[in-house]
């Protein structure tokens, strides 16, 4: 140990910081507009806000899990969120009084009504690694902070260009559903 202390002299924090600042060039990376489907593992420069609801009506455009944004905001492959799938909705359930609770998901078949309280949807797919997230209902900003919190990025402008596209952010790979139906 003594011989190591002689070799590596400890320096103060301020001096360390000063040395680092001299070494690391002070030119932050510029943001870049890219397609939303190519954003995985990039750094977000701004919150992503869906300006347009898709669909713009309160029934499902495809088979999907519906849920609350607040329950999935910090979801990632390393931080899976577990939601209870509490039911299914079908087109014949129009109009519905169903509502969604905390940590719950409801499966909605194409053309089924959307339960009250739902503001996020994930397309149901047979392959677990192909979940898609799309905004649902009006005045929605479901992607706000969602991507940034996990270190993944989408530039807002790319969403505007592709506002009718499904936003495949792929961070829902860790999402799990517990089916508690009888």
């Amino acid at each position: 140990m003594k011989s190591q202390q002689k070799k590596f002299k400890l320096i103060k924090f301020k001096e360390t910081l000063s040395r680092m600042e001299k070494t690391i060039p002070n030119n932050p990376l510029e943001d870049k507009k890219i397609k939303s489907v190519r954003v995985l593992r990039r750094v977000l420069t701004e919150d992503v806000i869906a300006e347009k609801a898709l669909p713009d009506h309160d029934f499902a455009a495809m088979d999907r899990y519906t849920m609350r944004t607040q329950n999935i905001q910090n979801t990632s492959e390393n931080n899976p969120v577990k939601l209870n799938n509490t039911g299914e909705l079908y087109p014949s359930n129009h109009p519905t009084k169903a509502s969604i609770g905390a940590s719950e998901a409801i499966y909605a078949v194409c053309d089924a009504p959307i339960a009250n309280g739902v503001d996020a949807i994930i397309k149901a797919d047979n392959q677990a690694d192909k979940y898609h997230a799309v905004p649902s209902k009006k005045h929605l900003s479901i992607l706000k902070n969602l991507v940034g919190a996990n270190g993944y990025a989408i530039t807002p402008t790319s969403i505007e260009k592709n506002k009718n596209s499904i936003i495949d952010i792929k961070i829902f790979g860790g999402l799990e559903f517990f089916n508690i139906m009888s």
Binding site: Y90, P91, C110
Partner: protein, 183 residues
């Protein structure tokens, strides 16, 4: 009184192809067909950005009518999802149609016994989801499911392969539209 036939199923299960086939062949049999389709995309417009009709609508016209040599188009700047089945049928009232075919509108027709239905499905699970809560008459199930379950049935509803059993499907419709057909 026009008969109504709804083709219901999730996207990419062949709804439009079936309608295309049915219209072609039912017209050949002498039927007058009208059809309607539901579009999910929020920004959809049949008009073309920048064209004169688009400019009329963009300026605020609530209804734009475009007449040409072989076509009259009426563009209503209204909220389609707020339409009820009766509202759609009103659009066909000015002419006598033997059959009005609806593509989609599952939520609108699922509990309507006066609406004939054909379900398109990928597989059994898919078919069962479409059938859940949907009341008869359901004439047939078709689509990709017929590749794996040809000649079978689900809930006593026949699965029909359009490639080889298309006549059967046409007959089922004709029996409903023209009960005396074939006599």
């Amino acid at each position: 009184m026009s008969k109504i036939l709804a083709i219901i199923g999730t996207s990419n299960t062949g709804k439009t192809s079936i309608i295309e086939y049915l219209v072609t062949n039912l017209v050949k049999k002498g039927l007058t067909i009208g059809s309607a389709k539901h579009v999910h995309h929020p920004d959809f417009s049949i008009d073309l950005d920048g064209k004169d009709t688009w400019r009329h609508a963009n300026a605020g016209s609530k209804r734009v009518v475009c007449l040409s040599e072989d076509e009259v188009a009426i563009i209503r700047k209204e909220k389609g999802p707020e339409y009820k089945l009766e509202d759609i049928l009103k659009l066909f009232q000015d002419e006598e149609f033997d059959l009005i075919i609806l593509e989609g509108f599952h939520w609108m027709v699922s509990s309507r016994k006066e609406v004939l239905k054909i379900v398109t499905a990928k597989d059994v699970e898919d078919a069962e989801k479409r059938l859940n809560g949907t009341i008869p008459p359901i004439l047939a199930i078709t689509g990709k499911i017929s590749n794996i379950l040809r000649g079978k049935s689900i809930q006593k509803i026949p699965i029909i392969d359009l490639k080889d059993e298309s006549d059967q499907l046409l007959d089922l419709i004709m029996e409903q539209v023209l009960p005396t057909a074939g006599n």
